[in-house]
């Protein structure tokens, strides 16, 4: 199978620090203004602001013409439920006379990925996957196969999620959100870029060992797992396995090639 590289991987849990691998923080310094420029407009949806900012960092060495050819593969657990809630409030306000068109146009899981495509001029395939457990791994696995078959040469894959849960007036149950994105490409596409990892296996397979027809939906996605993997040292091999839905098993094997 072809070598597919992850050049850069970048993630941010909530309003915590930005984690990156494949490029150093110094690489990002010049681009912080571009990233910040996307931030202020979306007070109701922090993950939209976050995703736009991280995307600017991820693609700062990718030219406009290269961006046009990218594919965009995004996984999500909650999709647009928070935007659904905003639109629903507008539906029921004032006896339903003033449903908000601005809110409605955000009520698709593909809205934020489309926003990324518009902001960064991405004209390749855009596919949003919904998965409760392994949205990041599914996005990376599918991007891997699109690149491996030659349908595209490079892609951004990753995940975002945002849902208000619990009592939002309590700090202990404040809204949680996160974004993780990575730049993937075939070996010859971005020779000038550093490489964080080489993907050596990527598959979604039937979990033959499981006979449980009512497997519970996991309470968390693979975000923390991938974030931890970003700290792996050079020359190590990562084997990530994760149950995805009923009888699905995601496998992702990567060799860390640069830190």
């Amino acid at each position: 199978m072809n070598d597919i590289y992850i050049h850069t991987i970048i993630a941010q849990p909530g309003n915590g620090p930005i984690h990156a691998a494949g490029n150093t923080a110094a690489d990002f310094a010049e681009e912080t203004r571009e990233a910040a420029a996307f931030s202020p407009a979306r007070e109701t949806n922090p993950v939209a602001s976050q995703a736009l900012a991280l995307m600017a960092l991820l693609l700062h060495r990718v030219s406009t013409s290269q961006r046009q050819k990218l594919g965009l593969f995004i996984g999500t657990r909650f999709g647009c439920l928070e935007d659904d809630r905003i639109f629903q409030k507008s539906r029921i306000a004032d006896g339903g006379k003033y449903a908000s068109p601005a809110a409605f146009r955000r009520t698709l899981p593909s809205t934020l990925p489309a926003e990324l495509s518009i902001a960064f001029g991405i004209q390749g395939p855009l596919i949003t996957f919904a998965d409760s457990s392994a949205p990041i791994m599914i996005a990376i696995i599918r991007a891997y196969h699109w690149i491996a078959t030659g349908a595209i040469t490079a892609a951004v894959a990753g995940s975002f999620d945002f849902l208000l849960t619990g009592n939002t007036t309590s700090p202990a149950t404040s809204p949680t959100y996160h974004t993780l994105l990575c730049l993937m490409a075939s070996r010859e596409t971005f020779p000038e870029l550093n490489t964080w990892a080489t993907i050596t296996k990527a598959s979604i397979e039937a979990n033959r060992q499981s006979t449980d027809q009512t497997e519970a939906t996991p309470e968390v996605t693979d975000f923390t797992e991938i974030l931890t993997a970003m700290g792996a040292s050079n020359d190590t091999t990562l084997n990530l396995h994760r149950q995805s839905g009923t009888h699905n098993m995601c496998h992702l094997e990567m060799r860390i090639t640069h830190q």
Binding site: G79, Q88, P101, P125, A148, S244
Partner: protein
Amino acid sequence: MTARRNPTIRLSGFGAATPRHATAESIFSAWLSGLPADGASSERPNRNMWQILTTQAITAALPPWEQRADCGLILATTKGDMQKVETWLNTDDPDHRSSPPPLLSDDLNTLAQQFGFGGPKTVVSTACSSGLAAIIEAAMLVQTGQARQMVVCAADIAGGFIQDGFHALKAISKSHCRPFDRQRDGLVLGSAAAACLVTSSTDPQRTADGPSLFLDGWGISCDATHLTAPDREAAGLTRAVRAAIAAVDSNSVDAVILHGTGTAYNDAMEALAMRTIFTHRPYLTAAKGFLGHTLGASGVIELALAAWMLHRQVVPAITGLEDPQWPELNFVRKAAVAADLKRILKTASGFGGLNAALAVSRSESMGP
């Protein structure tokens, strides 16, 4: 944008269901006979419509029980089972502590358990191009050996949430949907589910009932211009279509089933793309004047209609089209046209400027 030649992919077992019809064949026959529009703008879906329609659609595409262990499932949808979502949104528990959020993956897992699919499963949601994008995904999974066969089920229910949203966008017609007509004033929504079986054509034991298709090519692209409006220059759709027909002679496209929503900008964009791409004038038809816009289901249900067009060798007329705004194009109106059809192009475009196109040709097989 991508271009793939898929000589080894066969699409069969087309199932489709709307509130008024239970099979793809009956929907095709009703469209062909010029029955009144099937759109559901004034209808409110009943409580179990999601389950009823998806079950009817998938049943037609199902491989035998003993083959389902290596059959995967892709659910293509914009919003999933909106009855569940609306119930969750309207809960008396404003902090949603007691009720788990309704996830699209739950809809997928419910169907997977109901029918015993053992292969790869995922949900694809790319607005109104979801159905065609899911077929492309399924074809790639089969081609790369990730799955031996895949069922794609595309479904959406046009409930109050969605109806109010399109009303807010002022996209709903005041009367009826009139694709490509000078007097068109918007879309009509519909509810539907549709499904098909995606297999390798070298796997002859894996074909479901009914007319089947070869997937000759596909393309998928982003406009990268606007969250809801299509690119006025039709650049994204043009790229997707050119990719879909890259491996065949463009003159061999005998007919196109356009997205044809009946909205001002979508139809103008598609007309421009057709004028730009084709030097000959293939028959142009569209089903949303009859079916209504079934959102994420529209790509697969209209592909099912393409299979029946190729099988019956006839192009149904565009319901609602009386005075074409682009008379130089070969729109089929008023009456169906008998034609020698070998290859059909199906296009779809959605919010976010997401475009997809499939070129399909008739497979001789009618299935078992």
